[in-house]
């Protein structure tokens, strides 16, 4: 595949699109917040499997009659699976109590207990802190490595792209009220890894071309680099998306949001390595001078940092 797309002609529009995306995401995160899952809010959760399609209303009324007022009852995956959530509950025995109540109920003798979870309130806060810390640390370490291997402008560009990706994926989760649990946090960190992968591949080519003999403007050279790597970018994104869709469709309910976060992440990450990272490089004023090869004895550009 050879491409000749004038990516950089669209860079102003891309900048506007990205700014809008980031702004919408941030406002959604501020005003609507994330729909934190049990891992972060603390509380209890019970998943049950009924032999026949479950009657949610009768479950609700049974629970209400037994005094569990705040219980949220919903189907999970199929109409035989029921998920009961009690956010903010502070008792570690609540889940077992609910199972007992429902099993005692006339229609509930054949219920299969799928899982019970209880997460104490302090755990959630810690997870959020640790998750944030993990993200900042990951970004910091990578910035250092890229600055060491490439040049500090590339580090800045890569981080700009990653921050963009994380904010937009978080924004999507917030905007659509998708459950944000521990697996989604892991997915988000994997998005950082994936998007970085992409950005590095592109940056690598930009560096190579800037050091080459071709006499053109930085913008032109970046455009050439993007076209040269476009085939690879598309194919890798495609294979990754293939497995992600198979995870999303077959991996079961617990993995769905994980796969979804990564699907968004791969799409946004691919876009960001084309537009955010490259745009940032241009805006920071990267030029051939920044990558001058000082060691003239060793002209092979591939062996140089």
């Amino acid at each position: 595949m050879t491409f000749n797309v004038d990516f950089m002609a669209w860079r102003k529009i891309a900048l506007i699109v990205s700014s809008v995306l980031v702004l919408v995401s941030i406002s959604s995160l501020v005003f609507k917040e994330l729909n934190y899952g049990l891992d972060f809010t603390g509380g209890s959760l019970v998943e049950l499997s009924y032999p026949e399609p479950a009657d949610l209303n009768s479950i609700r009324s049974t629970l209400k009659a037994a005094g569990y007022d705040g219980a949220q009852v919903a189907n999970f995956g199929s109409n035989q699976e029921v998920l009961i959530k009690l956010p903010g509950s502070l008792s570690d025995t609540l889940g077992a109590e609910i199972v007992a109540v429902l099993k005692n109920d006339l229609s509930g003798s054949d219920i299969d207990l799928r899982r019970i979870e209880y997460v104490g309130p302090q755990i959630g806060d810690e997870l959020r802190d640790d998750g944030g810390l993990a993200m900042i640390l990951a970004l910091a370490f990578m910035m250092l490595y890229i600055a060491f291997r490439f040049q500090s402008m590339f580090a800045g560009a890569a981080v700009a792209a990653l921050v963009h990706d994380v904010i937009v994926v978080l924004g999507i989760f917030s905007l659509f009220g998708l459950d944000f649990d521990l697996t989604v946090l892991a997915a988000l960190l994997a998005v950082i890894g994936y998007s970085l992968n992409d950005t590095i591949v592109v940056s690598d080519r930009i560096r190579e071309n800037l050091r080459s003999e071709i006499e053109s403007s930085t913008t032109e050279l970046i455009n050439i680099s993007l076209n040269q790597t476009l085939g690879r970018t598309i194919i890798t994104s495609l294979t990754t998306l293939l497995v992600l869709f198979s995870l999303y469709l077959m991996g079961g309910e617990l993995i769905k949001n994980f796969a979804l976060a990564l699907i968004f992440g791969v799409v946004v990450g691919t876009y960001s390595s084309i537009y955010i990272a490259s745009n940032a490089l241009i805006m920071m004023g990267l030029s051939k001078d920044h990558l001058k090869v000082e060691d003239t004895e060793n002209p092979d550009p591939y062996d140089l940092p």
């Binding site: 889940g95 019970i116 979870e117 990578m142 993995i255």
Partner: protein, 616 residues
């Protein structure tokens, strides 16, 4: 084209062979099994035990196979229904001297086991079970310790005839001792400085004539750490009493303990035994002349009616009970043998030598939590977690002689009473109370579904990716497909060798690796195509493609590895499982995608010097 040294082929083939051998055990599905072992860990299973098991199972119609090892007798069954039947038959009929537990017995063939090849462990989300996270109340441990030290200081000051006017543990957990005048104060200060050097003893500025004993930071850390270690040991004993195969009891972070009990289905029972957040206190019985402010009435455990009065001074706590064992005395009557640690023995001796003929009470202190509703400022009902204690007497026995490190409690009514008391004494040996901060129970049906879903998504993902690269890269696609399959085998082999635990997020990590591992080959092949387009000869193009793509692959993978390592070090549970497979996958994929495909390509094209085009 560069020649590919013979040693590289040898290396690749050896790695592949080792990978296949160590990944192989994962193909053999484990048998649902029941394991039986003796209560005391020193006793190995004998022919007698096997006979008893055979007799019990003889009239059942479950198909079983019995194997004895050094640690336990294993009864393999063919279905999980049979497994449960066998378990209940055995636990109902075998008696109290054995522990009956569910197990998943690997069916690894002997020749593989001989090579040390074992299957990966499955996480709780894949095999069902309970996961608990408990918070240890380390402040309580320090308070306990300080109370003990306070008693000690009081006693020794009395022995030294140094009169103090008051001594107590402050809210900030320091010990304050007050004196009447300067002379005694100075005497005491010298004495305390000499004998209690672990404290940063300093005359308190708030009050003259008061000595404040503040624990050094290091000492506090030590007490906390000891408390957690002690609780870990106790929990391990309790878990053993539950009878679980392959339980995990581990410290997590500074003040937490994680307990994982695979295969447990009766979670209420598990919680009851683990959640007995109990400690013990040994007290002397109050006498008629004991002032009312220094004694308290406690009920007897499991009984209503009047209790007994015990002195408030604690002789020692449950953390100083080393063991407690039910047995029989010379006359065949039930008794409990107790062994204390050295310090506990000393304290017990000092406390009891002057009290022969009086009675020694053992208090069982249970820490429980309940939710209370309070009205907050905005008038809303908010739940508040409240901890409270229940203190009950489990034993009140007459002291016949001064007690030391080992002593026994006799006069018990039945063997069941003695074993119950021994259990309580052992179980009570918690240095600090704990409470549950996280609990996850996965039913066995969900576990099985998760495995199926995981495997199915892996197969589907793999099939789609393989198909795509075969169509897109043709001969080079074959190389990449082989490398990808090789990569999965290696990944599973490495996980098995490291005895890493496979979880659902772990499977997701493997699936993601499948998608991303192709990237290295895509990079190389794109380069080769580019070089061909530039007009290079095919074999030169291959060389150039591999060379030029290498650094890019290295940089891209290395940075992803950084992310995975950060994830691993900061994450818990789900995140850890994911990051392990991701990091291993990154490393193995570098090997297979670069070296593996190169070797294959060289075999196909290496000898065709006049090659005019590549199938790429």
């Amino acid at each position: 084209m560069k020649r590919y040294g013979i040693w590289k082929y040898v290396l690749i083939i050896s790695v592949l062979c080792v990978g296949i051998i160590y990944a192989l055990p994962n193909l053999y599905a484990p048998d649902p099994a029941v394991q039986v072992s003796y209560n005391s860990s020193s006793q190995s299973p004998d022919a007698n035990l096997v006979n008893r098991i055979e007799t019990i199972l003889a009239d059942g119609n479950s198909e079983t196979r019995i194997e004895a090892s050094d640690d336990y007798v294993l009864i393999r069954t063919t279905s999980s229904d049979d497994q449960l039947k066998v378990k209940s038959a055995l636990s109902n009929n075998l008696g109290g001297d054995v522990i009956v537990a569910l197990n998943l017995a690997p069916t690894t063939p002997q020749w593989l086991s001989n090579l040390g090849a074992e299957p990966m462990k499955l996480g709780l989300d894949l095999r069902g079970g309970v996961h608990f996270l408990m918070e240890v109340d380390t402040a309580a441990a320090i308070k306990n310790r300080q109370n003990g030290t306070l008693q000690d200081i009081k006693r020794r000051l009395r022995e030294e005839k140094i009169r103090y006017s008051g001594a107590f543990v402050e809210d900030d957990l320091s010990i304050s001792v007050k004196f009447q005048n300067e002379k005694v104060f100075n005497e005491a200060k010298d004495f305390l400085d000499d004998n209690y050097s672990q404290f940063l003893g300093s005359p308190d500025s708030k009050e003259p004539l008061m000595i404040s004993l503040v624990l050094a930071e290091l000492e506090i850390d030590q007490i906390k750490s000891d408390a957690i270690d002690q609780n870990l040991t106790t929990l391990r004993n309790r878990v053993n009493e539950l009878g679980v195969s392959e339980p995990i009891v581990q410290r997590q972070g500074k003040t937490r303990i994680v307990v994982q009990l695979p295969g447990i289905q009766d979670t209420a029972e598990a919680k009851k035994i683990l959640g007995k957040t109990a400690t013990l206190e040994f007290h002397l019985e109050a006498q008629l002349d004991t002032p009312r402010t220094r004694k308290t009435n406690y009920p007897f455990k499991g009984q209503t009616g009047p209790g007994a009065e015990l002195q408030d001074a604690v002789i020692l706590g449950g953390d100083q009970v080393a063991t407690a064992q039910a047995s029989f005395d010379e006359n065949g009557l039930p008794q409990v043998n107790i062994t204390l640690d050295g310090q506990g023995g000393g304290r017990m001796h000092r406390a009891t030598r002057g009290s022969i003929g009086k009675r020694l009470g053992v208090l069982f202190v249970e820490q429980k939590t309940r939710t209370k509703y309070e009205i907050d400022d905005s008038g809303q009902k908010v739940p508040v977690l409240e901890t409270y204690e229940i203190k009950e007497i489990i034993s009140l026995a007459t002291i016949r002689a001064a007690l030391g490190t080992t002593f026994r409690i006799t006069g018990l009514d039945s063997p069941s009473e003695s074993s119950e008391l021994a259990l309580l004494l052992r179980a009570g040996a918690l240095a600090a109370p704990m409470r549950f901060v996280e609990e996850r129970t996965v039913g066995p049906s969900l576990g099985a579904d998760n495995i199926d879903a995981g495997i199915l998504s892996m197969q589907l993902g793999m099939a789609m990716v393989l198909l795509f690269i075969l169509v897109y890269y043709r001969v080079f696609g074959i190389a990449a497909s082989l490398a990808l399959s090789f990569n999965i085998i290696l990944l599973i082999a490495v996980m098995s060798i490291l005895s890493a635990t496979l979880t659902l997020p772990g499977i997701a990590g493997i699936v993601l690796t499948v998608g991303m591992a192709v990237d290295a080959n895509v990079l190389i092949f794109s380069r080769i195509r580019e070089e061909l387009a530039k007009g290079r000869k095919p074999l030169d193009a291959i060389d150039a493609g591999y060379d030029r793509a290498f650094l890019t692959i290295w940089d891209a993978n290395f940075t992803t590895l950084i992310v995975a390592i950060v994830l691993y070090s900061l994450g818990t549970g789900a995140i850890k499982g994911f990051s392990i497979t991701l990091s291993i996958g990154i490393i193995t994929s570098m090997f297979t995608a670069i070296m593996g495909t190169r070797a294959f390509i060289n075999i196909i094209y290496g000898n065709k010097k006049d090659l005019s085009r590549l199938s790429i």
